[in-house]
């Protein structure tokens, strides 16, 4: 039994059951319990999510090409990108750390973007297959989102610790800013997507389950 068809929806904050007005109006509908604005579906969810996904793909390119940090010594400046950082750890034998950075900075953002693109396309094409799997994939993007921040924190901590004036200094690279934007924008993109849209798609052949 779908809540929308019965004229109900759940408040996203307090999960209070809210009766929707008979006619669709663009009016502000506050939750009677917590006061948060209630929507049957997040408005323009698909468009916003697409816009944010595309923005983060664009930012992801300079995030990978530009250096995350510069190490300034007498000998000159050495710059590290995300990939060169991973390769450095591989060469020096710190496989675990290399794996952590590789997963947090490369696997997690790409996985999130691919899942969101897949969900967006399948909702737009009204693909009714494997809804439960899609729901789980969406839950995964929300779960792993913030873990990409590891590399940003590493840069911030290195700057704080290696700060000896003219002698040796670490400075944040331009890539760090873009990477931070990728993390934040993909997190907002995942929040903008409405998982209820996955379940709104009607099954093509009816298995006799009249809803």
């Amino acid at each position: 039994m779908r809540a929308l068809e019965q004229g109900y929806t759940a408040c996203s904050v307090c999960h209070q059951l809210v009766k929707l007005p008979k006619e669709k109006s663009g009016k502000y509908l506050p939750c009677p319990r917590c006061g948060e604005e209630v929507h049957a579906r997040k408005p323009n969810s698909i468009q916003y999510t697409w816009a944010l996904v595309i923005a983060s793909i664009i930012f992801y390119i300079p995030a990978n090409l530009l250096p995350m940090m510069h190490v300034v010594t007498f000998a000159g400046t050495q710059s590290d990108t995300i990939i060169s950082g991973v390769l450095y750890f591989l060469e020096t034998g710190s496989y675990l750390i290399a794996a952590v950075i590789f997963i947090a900075s490369i696997v997690v953002p790409i996985t999130k973007l691919l899942i969101l693109i897949y969900l967006l396309i399948s909702v737009q094409r009204k693909d009714s297959k494997s809804k439960l799997m899609k729901q789980k994939l969406y839950a995964l993007t929300e779960l792993i989102g913030k873990w990409s921040m590891v590399d940003v924190y590493v840069v911030a901590l290195m700057i704080a610790l290696v700060h000896f004036g003219a002698m040796t200094e670490i400075k944040a690279g331009e890539g760090a800013n873009y990477f931070l934007l990728v993390v934040i924008i993909t997190m907002i993109a995942a929040m903008q997507f409405d998982p209820r849209l996955i379940w709104d798609i009607k099954e093509k052949e009816d298995h006799g389950t009249q809803r």
Binding site: M1, R2, A3, Q6, Y8, T9, A10, V13, C14, H15, Q16, L17, R33, C34, E36, T92, S94, I97, V100, I101, A104, K131, L132, Q135, A139, E142, G145, K146, W147, M149, V150, D151, V152, Y153, V154, V155, A156, L157, M158, I159, A160, L161, V162, H163, F164, M167, T168, K171, A172, A176, N177, L180, L181, I184, M187, M191, R196, I198, W199, D200
Partner: protein
């Protein structure tokens, strides 16, 4: 322990899954246990004993640990006769000095300000509840906790600390400070808080107070 929902048992507690929009009935919402959405398996309601006591204790512990973590030096680093001490504020301050405002604000917000606000809000809600008083600002606190949840990233910072320690060990001597230990404890206390935290019984208390005509 999973309670299977009895579907379509009329006249009983009606709930709507906010993930998949399925309406279902809960036969006995006061009973302890987990109630999962029959359609997608998402957790709808959960009842466990001792919510208020545990949250009060954990939030007090978290507040003390957070203050200790940010007051004492975190890591000290020696290289070629130079020493630097750091806590989380120093990393944000150096980022500000280098004109990296975006990074500075993001680091400051996600590692200090949001966790601090969340802990203070939880304490402000559960301390009065522990002494049997439902504060007027309870709905505001519950909403703020819902919206701030994804932006507190202290657990991610722990991984970042380990990675930067491994990086720095190759350049000089890293000496862990008192703060590092309290920080590690803090991450576990915050994780415990997130496991125990459950807003539904508080919302039910708010409903009940309003039915009795108390302004909440």
């Amino acid at each position: 322990m999973m309670k299977k929902l009895k579907e379509l048992e009329r006249g009983e507690h009606l709930v709507c899954c906010h993930e998949c929009d399925e309406l279902s009935y809960i036969s006995d919402p006061e009973k302890s246990g987990r109630f999962e959405c029959p359609n997608c398996g998402h957790l709808l309601l959960r009842h466990r004993t001792g919510l208020v006591e545990k949250m009060y204790a954990l939030s007090l512990a978290a507040l003390i640990l957070l203050l200790v973590t940010n007051y004492f030096p975190f890591l000290s680093f020696h290289v070629a006769g130079n020493t630097s001490h750091t806590n989380f504020f120093t990393s944000a301050i150096y980022l500000f000095e280098d004109q990296q405002f975006l990074l500075a604000i993001a680091v400051l917000m996600t590692t200090i300000i949001v966790p601090l606000i969340r802990i203070v809000l939880i304490l402000a809600l559960f301390a009065p509840l522990y002494y049997g008083h439902l504060p007027r600002y309870a709905p505001f606190v519950l909403r703020a906790l819902y919206h701030s949840l994804p932006w507190g990233m202290i657990d991610v910072l722990l991984v970042g600390v380990f990675v930067s320690m491994v990086k720095l060990v190759k350049m000089g001597t890293v000496i862990p400070g008192i703060s590092l230990w309290s920080f590690m404890a803090l991450v576990f206390v915050i994780a415990a808080m997130q496991v125990v935290y459950n807003p539904h019984p508080i919302w039910e208390r708010i409903d009940e107070a309003r039915r009795r005509g108390v302004a909440v």
